[in-house]
């Protein structure tokens, strides 16, 4: 039997729920391996499972649970950037 393409699915899931920045069409940055690991850690912390940074069974199980469509992290990068800008102005 086939092994689902968990990695691609997980990247899509992490982007959809706000853990990974959506690729910016202006800069088109590639998701980095470290960035994906970090996003998995944040998702694990948020979901209350062991923080491993890898797609273990518990994480995959959590990702496949029924849930609300709205993202868990809203505009975190945007917010950080704005805070930094404000600090610089001060």
């Amino acid at each position: 039997s086939a092994v689902p393409d968990q990695y691609s699915k997980a990247v899509d899931w992490l982007s959809r729920y706000g853990y990974l920045p959506v690729p910016d069409p202006r800069t088109s940055k590639l998701q980095t391996k470290e960035g994906i690991e970090k996003a998995i850690r944040v998702m694990q912390r948020f979901g209350g499972v062991k923080e491993t940074g890898v797609l273990d069974d518990e994480t995959i199980k959590l990702m496949s649970m029924p849930r609300c469509s709205l993202p868990d992290i809203v505009g975190s990068e945007d917010m950080l950037r704005r805070r930094k800008r404000r600090r610089r102005k001060r």
Binding site: S1, A2, V3, P4, D5, Y7, S8, K9, A10, V11, D12, S15, R16, Y17, P23, P25, S28, L30, Q31, T32, K33, I36, R45, F46, G47, G48, L62, M65, P66, R67, C68, S69, L70, P71, D72, V74, G75, S76, D78, M79
Partner: protein, 443 residues
Amino acid sequence: YALSGLKWHKTDLTWSVHSYPSPSLSPGLTAHVVGDILTRAFKAWSDVAPLNFHQLDSSDNRWPIAEGDIRVSFTSSYHNDGYPFDGQGGTLAHAFFPGTDEMAGDTHFDDDELWSHGGDTSKTDLFTVAVHEFGHALGLSHSSSDPSIMRPYYQGPVTDFLNFQLDMDDRLAIQQIYGVKDSRSPGGVDPDLPRLPSPPPPRPTQASDPSFLERCKGGFDAVANIRGEVFFFKGAHFWRTKRDGSLVSLNPAKINNFWIGLPPGTNKIDAAYERKSDSKIVFFIGSQYWVFKDTEAMSGYPQPLSEWGMRTKSGVLLDRVEAAFIWAHNGKTYVFSGGEFWRFDESFKAEQVTRQLEQGYPRNSSLWAGVPSHMDDIISWGEGDAYFFKDNLYWVLKNGGLNQDVVTPKSIAVDWLRCPAPPVTFTPANPQIPKECHCDIRG
């Protein structure tokens, strides 16, 4: 708890139901029962904050029904709000944060779910989900706190639906926005950040781009699944398709501007893949290969392809690769060239990747029945299926299978690159074995 940064600037809110669950999937959830469940879900919030909820119905002439603050509906699949539902399981519902936008407060439930009214754990409890969604409609974001009704995952029905009370985390959240019920100073405060991200500045419409035709013509040099996106390389450029089917940009990017460390003027990638064991990205160009860490070539590359030790059946050392991919079915690396293929085990041992050519290779590419012997490239995608790309068509071998009787090709341009469908033309279902003709009595 987390707040969206948005709130209603009034405490009397109206709500209405615009459609109900399908009786075939959720029997027993009549309009009356749904109204009762939703009333109780609103009550969970109005019990602890100075909020009043009034249901509007079609017989009520005081407000036009469309004017309700929180409009509830049961919809399925795409319903024109950017949050499509996905059938049973997966996403269950969503709601829009408060505000002046037309959609503000609107709450949508997936009509493909099996909704229930408590008790039946094989179904989804409408009351539990409704309390969560109304939390969004009032300005709350998802919480990581346990217990909290605002956790994003559905974990079964709440206990004691009739006497349900919000947990501390949720109470504090709603009171932060609207104040405490029966307190002398109701109204709360304007919630501080986080604010919703501001939309990107408007961009002028681009003039028509000649690269449009290139994208839609097909004939890609290489196709690769890298970090969950599909890269289509052609000449000196590439396009990227995200998992949701959208393109990062309609305009192609220059290979040399993005992939740093390739020779200037690189105008053809033969094949590429993301290594499973360490997520490094391998590019084949002519008789050399490069290994990238993210978008930068690692020092020491290029190296000669001969390092891979691939010899044809006639004993010649391979000097060009046509296609390469990791088959999700077994995690092995497959390299194709000249109608033959080789299989490698690339394990991560002692902090480095060791590449082991497996015994019994090369084998004939025709073993992959139903797909072209000489393909442009291959990827693993979806549920671990193998996707073969050739010219402007692609074939899917499902479930780790090698030998499917009929594999119908589909259009790369239409399915992957957002191009208009071409006029219908005949394409053979199996490029290796032309389909037999069957004539009927009328010839």
